[in-house]
């Protein structure tokens, strides 16, 4: 196929050059004048061109200093001779065989001031349909407004909360992936991200299955659309199946249409903008200091020794008295180092700066336009060791050979360098480190910390040895370990458009995207203090992956209007896409030093991997749009798509959709209602699908498993999956668009219902009786189960007041999505619940939404022995055969005063899985955003709010810091722990690796609803007069505050918590880097 695409590209180019060929030898010459001070003077530098009737340029020149020109005239055909100069009226003459043609140019009063061309036509979609003719739900954002005043470093950030039905959760670390969900999650395991379409070319953001790096994760790879937000002109979101159908099944999760800026006719414009942003880290959870920690640990061990009984507690007593780390033992060699008072977190967090500089240049003439941009961004992270540097550049060139034939070439390159520590849990490690330990050696003489890290972290140490993920030195980890990702991406698109006949147009493109990612990581031995023969000692890895995506599209479009009575737009297109990927990774340990961390410099190999994959897709799409009397609209689309990852019989899928719209304001009975500008009713229904990823996952394979003595043994290694098919979804949408009072007040309401059937699931378990134990009894994909998403979206925009000086406007949107499992996949396996601390039961019940939490009801702390007695439903104390009261048990642990009290729902005197109930859901009730903008003359103030309401989450970070179970440092909340009867607290007593005092209960499930002032921005346009003096066209200054206020009841650091990828996983707040407050100041100059 490579060759095929190449071939068509070559053909297209040949075609262009052939059109340029001219023939024969005739000349036309002459002189051009202009009137200066009423005198006729020769005019220098005037463009003289000969073109066809269709304005296709054949040959051209400029006049010399004497105002003379001479041109060779092509042999045959009808021509025009055109004279043009900036500031002059262009003049056109029909060529009738003249050999001499003298012209006098006339000044054009308008053109000098009016170089920026206004839009000639109404904007049309890919399928040639105007917004007015649409029957489906879309929303468009003009990026200029958003970007100009806001310190956004990514597209996702710019869109958050602004679009109805688009739910975005951004991450706090620079360059980390955000999750984007359009109208909820409607798929179980396969990709749920929306499709990104840039200038009509779809780009998949996810990576396919064959990528299985031990060292990399999908977040790193798929992150970053690698588009500079400043290069974007507008973003449109397509939500329902009827509108996404045009982009095939890859648009099943919704589509984000990104249009980049293009060059415009006129003088060359330069824009320079520069922005500095300060990120201020929010206050951290207060943790115990050294003394409080030691006291808490001693308390915990003593309580446990008591609970165990004296006979069994010798081990605990030994621990309590013989552990120098938590005792006063001045003779011990590390005494100084374990009697410090360290705030570990303060060493690994910081305030940071974002620098963002942009330059762009654009211009053009009648024939050609261009735009070039260059931007550089450096975003520091609030966790030490994190950083993102990105350079993007793009070039767009448009050229019109004639009125009929136009070509457009787009080129963009981006280079992003993301730095992060080797592990993402630096912060949580810093929080759990014992605060009485010093990060540095203490000088024996002065008693002050030295420059040398104190790295003791072995199995004799109180907190134990490095276990692969925790127990390391957080400061060294933040400063010296690294996990760097360098991503380079080139995108090239060549597009050609030809008007074959009036109303009949051909458009085709060839697009190529080449993406390479390089990962380098290093874990210094000093951070972990493991021995040099340990596989984590100086662990170093090097991985590389690349992907080449090739796409072509050929599109024929026909548009015709009959006296505004009938209007049809018919389109047919054929799209091919091919994606080829390869990767390798090496991992070594025992590298001699950080400087020698390159895998080739030695050490022992820990792992080696490589892989490659290829996916191909073909789709044919036809669209028909009919408008009757300018008010009744019928739209139909059929997508016929085939994908290489499905077997022959199920490879092709047909996905139809149909939509109706009615412009009621056009009706006679509403014609007189002057304040009504638009009343449009829309309805649509459409189907879409999802296919598995990866190189032919359906293919059955055989592979060798060794030898039986001397005979080769070959075994079936994967099953042929002929039944594997498209996951199909049907979505219907009903909507109203309302425009009132000269469109000052606009409203949109949509209701949708999406039913997804044959849910695709990845890596599904099958019974071992099928004989595939060798493969862990798994098949790559399986279709089963159904899910629905329904909801509504409402958006209002209101320009409340407007005069010459003032503009006051506001906007608001609110969205509700309800996700329901309609039928459970027949093979769905819930993880088995075992009664243990911190664990929540996982249940998927048909008819309930996904993301539900199940656990115990927390009822505080047992105050005294009397309270620990089990009670029956009537509240009477239960007694045993000997008439003694039965004491409550948490699992196998008998409850004592100070232990956690859970509701004994079945009144059996024992807390176990039978007492689990539903305690909440991680799906938000409503989400949305809104803003309020005021503009007075040159000053404008913009605010934007984002909210998510009615959502719950497991506050894992709080659980970890209040569990009082192990050696981890705890938050100051545990100072309120129960110690004696009468303590008014809901925090149980401290225990040491014993008891069930922090079972998965509603104690840690919190409401994380929030309303957040996302942005508050003040901007000022310098008056024109001042600009003129500074030889510029415009200057804009702004100050913006980001995430300044958050209203929430949530006790964690940040209520905006990323949702898990897998739908069967529960949502935890694992104390990721919290979003910081940001203050930005910037300037944009146009000249």
């Amino acid at each position: 196929m490579n060759r095929k695409i190449f071939g068509s590209l070559v053909l297209l180019i040949l075609l262009g050059s052939q059109l340029l060929q001219a023939q024969s030898v005739r000349y036309i010459r002459g002189k051009v004048y202009e009137i200066i001070d009423n005198k006729k003077e020769p005019s220098t530098g005037v463009n003289v061109i000969i073109s066809t009737e269709q304005n296709r340029l054949l040959i051209g020149t400029v006049t010399n200093t004497m105002g003379e020109y001479s041109l060779k005239v092509p042999a045959e055909g009808a021509f025009k001779v055109v004279f043009s100069f900036i500031g002059m009226k262009p003049q056109t003459f029909r060529y009738t065989g003249q050999t001499e043609l003298n012209v006098t140019m006339q000044e054009d009063a308008h053109s000098l001031n009016d170089v920026v061309v206004t839009k000639e036509r109404q904007e049309k979609s890919e399928m040639g349909i105007t917004m007015r003719e649409q029957t489906s739900a879309t929303q468009k954002i003009n990026m200029d407004e958003v970007v100009k005043n806001l310190p956004v470093s990514s597209v996702e950030e710019a869109l958050q909360g602004r679009m109805a039905g688009v739910d975005i959760i951004a991450s706090g670390d620079p360059g980390a992936k955000s999750s984007i969900r359009i109208r909820g999650t409607a798929t179980l395991n396969s990709n749920a991200d929306p499709l990104i379409v840039i200038n009509g070319v779809p780009y998949k953001t996810n990576i396919d299955d064959s990528f299985n790096f031990s060292t990399a994760n999908q977040e790193d790879y798929a992150d970053m659309l690698n588009i500079n937000p400043y290069d974007i002109e507008s973003i449109e979101v397509l939500k329902d199946a009827a509108s996404t159908a045009v982009y095939g099944t890859s648009g099943a999760n919704g589509v984000l249409l990104i249009t980049t800026k293009k060059g415009v006719k006129g003088n060359t414009h330069f824009t320079l903008s520069s922005k500095e942003t300060a990120k201020i880290e929010p206050a951290a959870i207060p943790m115990l200091n050294g003394d409080q920690y030691v006291a808490f640990i001693q308390d915990a061990i003593w309580n446990t020794a008591n609970a165990q009984g004296i006979a069994n507690s010798s081990g605990y007593l030994k621990l309590l008295f013989d552990t120098p780390e938590i005792n006063y033992n001045p003779g011990w060699r590390y005494f100084d180092e374990y009697n410090a008072n360290t705030d570990w977190l303060s060493y690994v967090k910081q305030n940071a700066i974002i620098t963002d500089n942009n330059f762009s240049m654009s211009g053009g003439g009648d024939k050609a336009t261009y735009r070039f941009s260059l931007s550089q961004m450096d975003e520091g992270g609030t966790t030490v060791g994190t950083d993102l540097k990105r350079i993007t550049t793009s070039l767009n060139i448009g050229y019109s050979f004639s009125d009929k034939l136009k070509v457009n070439a787009d080129f963009s390159y981006s280079d992003a360098d993301k730095k992060a520590p080797w592990t993402t849990n630096v912060r949580s490690e810093a929080l759990s480190k014992m605060p009485n330990k010093s990060p540095f050696w203490i000088d024996n003489v002065t008693g002050l910390p030295t420059d040398n890290y104190f790295t003791r972290q072995n199995s004799q140490e109180f907190q134990g040895a490095f276990d692969g993920s925790s127990n390391f030195h957080p400061i060294i980890m933040a400063n010296e370990s690294y996990y760097n990702t360098r991503q380079k991406e080139e995108k090239m698109t060549f597009q050609l458009s030809y008007d074959i006949l009036k109303g009949f147009n051909y458009t085709g493109y060839v697009s190529m995207k080449f993406n390479t990612v390089k990962y380098r990581s290093f874990l210094p031995q000093s951070a972990t203090d493991v021995t040099i023969d340990n596989t984590y000692a100086n662990l170093s890895s090097d991985a590389y992956s690349n992907n080449l995506a090739l796409q072509t599209e050929n599109k024929l479009m026909y548009r015709k209007n009959w006296n505004n009575v009938h209007n049809i737009v018919a389109t047919a297109l054929w799209r091919t896409s091919q994606s080829v990927s390869s990767n390798y990774s090496t991992e070594i340990y025992g590298a001699s030093s950080a400087g020698m961390s390159d895998p080739v410099t030695g050490g022992s190999i820990r792992s080696l991997q490589s892989g490659n994959s290829e996916v191909r897709t073909l789709s044919g799409i036809t669209n028909f749009n009919y408008t009757f009397l300018n008010r009744y609209i019928l739209n139909g689309t059929l997508n016929y798509e085939g994908k290489s990852s499905l077997g022959k019989s199920n490879r092709w899928g047909a996905f139809p959709s149909v939509g109706l719209a009615w412009h009621a304001q056009e009706e006679d009975f509403l014609k007189d209602v002057t304040w009504l500008d638009q009343l449009k009713f829309r309805t649509s229904i459409g189907q879409s699908g999802q296919a598995p990823e990866g190189t032919a996952p359906y293919v059955g394979t055989y592979s060798s498993i060794g030898q039986y003595v001397t005979n080769e043994a070959i075994t079936p290694s994967s099953m042929q999956l002929n039944k594997l098919k498209w996951e199909s979804s049907t979505e219907s949408d009903v909507g109203v668009d309302l425009g009132l009072f000269n469109n000052k007040l606009t409203m949109t309401f949509d209701y949708y219902y999406k039913y997804t059937d044959d849910l695709l699931q990845k890596s599904v378990s099958i019974p071992s009786s099928t004989g595939y134990s060798n493969q862990g009894n798994k098949i790559s994909y399986f279709n089963s189960g159904a899910m629905s998403n329904q909801g509504w979206e409402y958006r209002i925009d209101y320009e409340m007041f407007k005069n010459d000086d003032w503009i006051i406007s506001t906007n608001f949107n609110i969205n509700r999505n309800i996700n329901t499992i309609e039928s459970l996949p027949e093979n769905l396996q819930e993880s088995t619940y075992t009664l243990k601390n911190g664990a929540y039961a996982q249940k998927l019940v048909p008819g309930t939404p996904v993301g539900s939490f199940f656990g115990y009801k927390y009822a505080g702390v047992y105050q005294n022995t009397e309270e620990t007695y089990a009670r029956d439903a009537e509240g009477n104390v239960m007694v045993n055969l000997f008439d003694q009261p039965i004491v409550m048990k948490n699992g196998r642990y008998t409850c004592y005063p100070g232990d956690a009290k859970y509701a004994d729902l079945n009144f059996d005197g024992i807390i176990n899985e039978k007492d689990i109930i539903y305690i909440g859901n991680s799906m938000p009730l409503v989400t949305g955003g809104g803003g309020f903008n005021v503009k007075y003359k040159n000053l404008s103030i913009m605010t934007f709010f984002h909210y998510r309401l009615g959502q719950k989450i497991i506050n894992k970070a709080r659980m970890d810091s209040e569990s009082m179970y192990g050696t981890d440092n705890q938050s100051t909340a545990v100072l309120r722990r129960w110690r004696n009867e009468g303590d008014d607290t809901n925090i149980p007593r401290a225990l040491w690796g014993y008891g069930l005092n922090y079972l998965g209960s509603d104690r840690f499930v919190e409401d994380c609803s929030f309303l957040r002032l996302k942005t508050l921005s003040v901007s000022y346009n310098v008056p024109r007069k001042v600009c003129k003096k500074l030889y510029t066209n415009s200057i804009n200054l702004f100050i913006t505050g980001y995430d300044l206020f958050t209203w929430t009841k949530y006790t964690g650091q940040d209520p905006e918590v990323s949702l898990p990828n897998g739908i069967t996983e529960l949502a935890y707040d694992n104390a990721q880097t919290p979003r910081s407050k940001r203050y930005a100041a910037g300037i944009t100059v146009n000249f």
């Binding site: 053909l11 050929n554 394979t701 009786s769 595939y772």
Partner: protein, 511 residues
């Protein structure tokens, strides 16, 4: 107009070429796809070999523990839930039956596809195809026989899982139905008339399915299903075979001759044994697992069995005869010099080298694992004869058969007397099996078969009493209470399997 032509042509070209479905046919580069397999005789051979390989790989982890630990002749020195009868559905490593079904699928796949290969391979003779079928039938029958003996009722799957056209969810079939399938498989294999008597190499003759192994398996299955006349018949096919290359009982009463069954192995007595070969880097841990001095050892003889062996050894010492299957044959002790005082015994079969008391060296850690040999066939016939009828003549023959085994071990012969009852006869046979076949993965199945037959007639005598006598790894009262429940004699269906197969129901004992 030229331009239009060009554009239309290009568009057409792309449409026409791309529309071919072939372009969407992308196959993984590093694997053999199943639709391109099955083109030659070698392909069929290779798949069958993986069946044997799977079975071989199960020896240490499955065949030995399942066959031995519950019976009590051998116990694991580290705690093991099998020997303490505490297996739970969550003990995946013990009760996951997947590896047996792996072999069954291999057999099913061969039966479904071998003919395809024959169509493409002109050199693939009909006789060879049938021979391959008979091997597949054997592998399937043997696997199901293991399944039935351990789980009793199991899903009966005779179609190949090559693609997803068959449902993954299959309910259990009752024991009798599975047994019926096993028998019909063996008969089908024999009916092909192509089951081999020998292969080109000795190791294949003993390491792959032959006509002889089919006979032995059939006799075993018939004894299990209490079809004694048939069992007797199939034993006779082996014992009275007139074919020159048929396996035959070794009769020379010397240690060297007897021990040659285990080292070097593939003896004339052997019918079917799983093969290892150190020269091909195929070794196993059997010599380590049974070695008294190795720190990785795992198995030891129960004290009662040590006493049994000691008494056989002391007989040969008193009679000044060569010890054959006792010291350095079936067993050896931690204290060879004062063996009477020894407290621990080990299986010598897998550790011993060709010299009497030296162990295999690490290079030779490739002892084979015998599944059927002639001694067992003799004892199976004896068992069949005793149960088939009350005929004294038959019983006399049974005693003769037992004596054939004892004679070559220089042990005193059993004498037939009229007052011997069925129970006494069976006791003799069971004793002989225990001593002769120790460590060969038979003990528990023997106890189970003897105890369950004839509606649990001898359950106490043979099953309960023997387990409590030999198995000291669990309390006697616990053992008695567990064994009293017929369902507890079989393993639970493992948790993951129950989840993955919606039609499965747990063995009631493990609810």
């Amino acid at each position: 107009m030229k331009a239009i032509q060009h554009i239309l042509l290009t568009a057409l070209l792309i449409v026409a070429c791309s529309s071919c479905n072939g372009w969407l046919e992308v196959t993984p580069q590093d694997k053999q796809t199943s639709d391109a397999y099955w083109t030659s005789q070698e392909d069929v051979d290779a798949v069958l070999n993986s069946g044997y390989l799977y079975l071989r790989n199960m020896t240490e982890g499955t065949l030995i523990p399942l066959g031995e630990l519950r019976g009590g002749s051998i116990f694991s020195i580290t705690s093991n839930k099998l020997q303490s009868f505490q297996v739970k559905p969550t003990d995946e490593s013990i009760c996951n039956w997947g590896s047996f079904y792996q072999i069954i699928n291999i057999a099913n796949v061969v039966l479904a596809n071998a003919q395809k290969a024959q169509l493409k391979d002109d050199t693939y003779e009909d006789q060879e195809l049938k021979a391959h079928y008979s091997e597949a039938y054997f592998l399937r029958a043997l696997s199901y026989f293991y399944l039935v003996r351990n789980w009793r009722d199991v899903p009966l799957i005779t179609t190949a899982f090559e693609d997803d056209s068959h449902t993954y969810h299959v309910a259990k079939s009752p024991e009798a139905e599975v047994i019926k399938q096993i028998k019909s498989d063996i008969l089908a294999a024999l009916a092909t008339g192509a089951a081999k008597e020998t292969y080109n190499t000795t190791w294949e003759t003993k390491g792959r399915a032959t006509k002889w192994s089919l006979y032995a398996l059939m006799a075993d299955v018939c004894l299990w299903s209490e079809d004694y006349a048939e069992a007797d018949k199939f034993c006779d096919f082996l014992i009275h075979s007139s074919v020159g290359n048929a396996p035959a009982l070794l009769t020379t009463p010397t240690h060297a001759k007897w021990f040659s069954m285990f080292n070097p192995g593939n003896s004339n007595e052997s019918i079917f044994e799983l093969q290892w070969e150190y020269q091909e880097n195929q070794t196993n841990s059997l010599p380590i697992l049974f070695d008294n001095l190795n720190t990785s050892r795992k198995y030891q003889l129960s004290y009662q069995l040590l006493l049994d062996f000691n008494s056989e050894y002391s007989y040969t010492q008193e009679e000044q005869l060569e010890a054959v299957r006792s010291m350095f044959g079936g067993y050896y002790t931690d204290d060879v010099l004062t063996w009477e005082a020894a407290t621990k015994g080990y299986v010598w079969k897998y550790c011993g080298s060709q010299t009497l008391s030296d162990k295999r060296t690490a290079t030779y850690y490739d002892p084979n694992f015998i599944i059927y040999r002639m001694a067992e066939v003799y004892l199976m016939k004896a068992e069949a004869l005793v149960l088939k009828s009350d005929s004294k003549a038959d019983w006399q023959t049974a005693i003769d058969l037992i004596n054939d085994i004892r004679r070559r071990s220089n042990l005193e012969e059993r004498v037939f007397t009229d007052d011997l009852k069925e129970e006494d006869m069976l006791k003799m046979i069971l004793y002989e099996r225990r001593m002769e076949l120790v460590g060969e993965g038979k003990c528990w199945y023997d106890l189970l078969r003897f105890g369950r037959r004839n509606h649990n007639k001898y359950k106490t005598t043979f099953l309960v009493d023997n387990v409590t006598l030999y198995n000291k790894q669990a309390g006697e009262s616990w053992l008695i209470s567990v064994l009293s429940n017929d369902d507890a004699l079989f393993l639970p269906v493992c948790e993951s399997e129950l989840k993955a197969n919606s039609l499965l129901v747990q063995n009631p004992y493990y609810y």
